[in-house]
Amino acid sequence: MNLADLFTVAAVSAGAVFFLAGTVGLLRFPDALTRLHALTKADNVGLGLVVLGLLPRVDDVLAGLELVAIWVLTLLAGAAVSQLIARAARRGGPPV
């Protein structure tokens, strides 16, 4: 196991911890806004760490850029959708 492998294992594991923490928060937090807060941490940091960990393993630069683009798009979608859900929750839309 070389240094790149160690880095991958460490970063992906750290990402998994964030996903686990986000899921626990989603299940345990008391209201919609705090649950959204927990969920976006999993997406932003968790997925970011997973992508970071996978970067040393890609075959070429283009594949690495694709991974980073997926993360950036997830950030964009997560930020926008959680704002929309939060607004709907505040207006008393679907049950929260």
Partner: protein, 312 residues
């Protein structure tokens, strides 16, 4: 390890399927269904069916999910009344019996399949070079099973005719869906400005790559349709009146080209949808190029719904 993951995924999918059926709230059931579609995408990836995974994610999870959420929002007002008219015990027992019989028949049929299952894969792989297409899925869809693909493309058009036929008489020829009013400085309008340029590139790329690698017109067209629907929901553009002749031509152009090439096959290659020697790849490309925009417009309008507003 992988076996344990596969088993876990299968159990989660089964549990989610049961939960989706058992959920009393329509909106919750729809959310369950979308999550079910995304998990199914993982299964297709695991089975190395990347083409199917893309289709399931785009059409099964995304587009169908959006349609069902729209339907759930419309049903919300009458849901309480509908729930009050709960069918009696005999009806429910009969429904359970019928569903049980269908499931049992399916189970018997699937378990009765010969092992290994009969397959045409070796013959397909041996003849794939004749089509000139690199992605075996595209070759099967447009050369060996072109009739199925033609009917699929036309069935989407029929679905749109079905949706439009729900229009009240006064709105016929008008604009589909309600008038969307979103905050022009809000996050939805921002997303609808930032995402479509990226989404259009990704959609066209997935269509373009479909000849040689996983991808294709249905998946690409779904992404284009989603980008347009996002702009509609954010109030940046309005849906077009459905009596516009340019719109109607865009809808039927793809199927018409497909049928015309198929009919030409009778004269030049001896059978409907047969391609003359050496022209297979060219004709497949022409069909794909013609179907792609038509499918994008059709899928977008299916989700946009029946005309509701008299618009000019």
């Amino acid at each position: 390890m992988i076996e344990a993951l596969n088993l876990g995924t299968a159990l989660v999918i089964l549990a989610l399927a049961v939960w989706t059926i058992a959920a009393r709230d329509t909106f919750a059931a729809v959310v369950g269904f979308v999550a079910y579609g995304l998990l199914l995408t993982l299964v297709w990836v695991q089975l190395r069916g990347i083409d199917v995974a893309l289709t399931e994610a785009a059409l099964g999870g995304g587009l169908t999910g959006a349609m069902l959420i729209g339907a759930a929002a419309r049903l919300r007002r009458t849901e309480g009344a509908a729930r009050a008219q709960r069918p009696g015990v005999p009806t429910r027992v009969a429904a359970a019996l019928l569903a049980g019989c269908v499931t049992a028949t399916l189970a018997v049929a699937v378990l009765g399949l010969p092992d290994p299952a009969p397959t045409l894969a070796p013959e397909t792989a041996a003849n794939i070079a004749a089509t000139g297409v690199g992605n075996p899925i595209t070759a099967v869809l447009l050369a060996f099973r072109a009739m199925d693909t033609l009917l699929e493309a036309i069935v989407v058009l029929f679905a749109l005719v079905g949706v439009w036929s729900l229009a009240p008489d006064r709105a016929w020829g008008g604009r589909p869906g309600p008038l969307q009013r979103a905050d022009p400085d809000g996050i939805l309008a921002y997303l609808a400005r930032v995402l479509p340029p990226i989404g259009v590139v990704v959609g066209v790329y997935i269509f373009w790559i479909g000849a040689d690698r996983p991808g294709g017109k249905f998946q690409g067209a779904t992404i284009l349709a989603a980008m347009w629907l996002l702009a509609v929901m954010a109030g940046l553009v309005d849906t077009p009146p459905i009596d516009r002749s340019r719109l109607r031509i865009a809808l039927i152009a793809g199927p018409v080209v497909f049928i015309a090439i198929g009919a030409a096959g009778v004269a030049f290659a001896g059978a409907f949808l047969a391609y003359p020697d050496g022209f297979a790849k060219l004709l497949i490309k022409v069909i794909e190029w013609a179907l792609f925009p038509s499918l994008a417009v059709t899928l977008a309008l299916v989700v946009a719904g029946a005309p509701e507003r008299t618009g000019t």
